[in-house]
Symmetry: C2
Subunit: 184 residues, 2 copies
DNA sequence: TCGTTGAGTCAACGACTGTTGAGCGAAGTG
DNA sequence: CACTTCGCTCAACAGTCGTTGACTCAACGA
């Protein structure tokens, strides 16, 4: 069954990825503070000391775990509003664990807060640039805030009214609202 | 200066309120987990053991601190959308410390999450009732989520584009968006 | 005045946490 | 084969936290 026992370098890569995967899951579920190195190690079936040896500190483990390698490219043509949001990497639907971990921690972990604020500021700037007009920056910020709120309510808080709704239906119902902001 | 040294019962009430006030401030700033009994006690200029003696546990201190006595009544006539939101106790502008403490902790403290979810679910139900029409519940949920997102971005994360904007200007810019959701 | 009550303090316990250094044993190298 | 490398574990340290029990002393009631 399990063919070659794999080389040493390969084993290390796998273990490291197993730790990162477990870390992402637990960080996303409990946030930074309530996540313990021991819990991550247990989920990865590894000794806690190994986690430290690989990542140096809990903070560095978090940074590696929430690092998203590439910005998801937009696929094909979309409705104007979705296109605008898609262009900055915001869309409805299930988010990667790394993003959830980041969002889960952003209100209680200063570093995560700064990271998210920076990312959102960047998205606001891009959106404002695409929108034009007078108070574009404020309207862009409100669009981003709206997406943020819906995502939190849906993915992290689990509002009853949103739990049964598909991402498509949410996006569709939300569209006039976002368009009103985009058009001014 | 300090007239009567105050009676024993009065002193107790003042100390208790001093502790609650300090707790609200620190809970609002750091969230539940990162707030220590010791820090609250220090801010209230009291021994940590006294906090325990008065409130029994950190969890009970939190519950007492975030308890909001009364629902703010809506004042006078408002624009339709603001009236709808005001009716359920949602409005722009500075929020009480207790509310901020609750929101700060809602993503990482399960009890706070449940409390907020319950409150928001209730507001969604009220809003949906006032809106009527077909998918009223989903649209109401998105309105509440929008308010939530803007509040988080503005008060807790401090998005650059929102930091300089007055609550009135935000409310005004946001109005067409919310109306689009309310009208369907 | 004297005993009682209760606000407030002090020192400590036990649990948990991030983190560390020594060591084991198998994979790699000559 | 002998020797080194390194993935990995074990046991422990040091600090912090919520929580507790004994204690001090001024306000109170009779």
């Amino acid at each position: 069954m399990e063919g070659t026992p794999t080389s040493r370098a390969e084993r290390r890569r796998r273990t490291e990825e197993r730790i990162l995967s477990a870390a992402r899951a637990i960080f996303a579920e409990r946030g930074f503070q309530r996540t313990t190195i021991r819990a991550v190690a247990a989920a990865a079936e590894v000794d806690p000391a190994l986690v430290m040896q690989y990542f140096g500190s809990k903070q560095e483990l978090f940074e590696q775990a929430v690092r998203i390698p590439s910005i998801p490219p937009l696929d094909g043509e979309l409705e104007p509003v979705e296109e605008l949001l898609g262009r900055i990497g915001m869309k409805m639907g299930p988010l990667p664990q790394a993003t959830l971990a980041m969002m889960r921690s952003m209100l209680t972990h200063p570093d995560a807060a700064e990271e998210v604020r920076g990312k959102l500021d960047g998205q606001v700037a891009q959106l404002a640039d695409a929108i034009g007009s007078g108070d574009a920056e404020l309207r862009a910020a409100l669009m981003v805030s709206t997406m943020l709120g819906v995502t939190i309510a849906h993915q992290l808080l689990g509002l009853t009214a949103l739990r049964g709704a598909s991402p498509e239906r949410i996006a569709e119902t939300l569209r006039p609202s976002l368009r009103a902001l985009a058009d001014g």
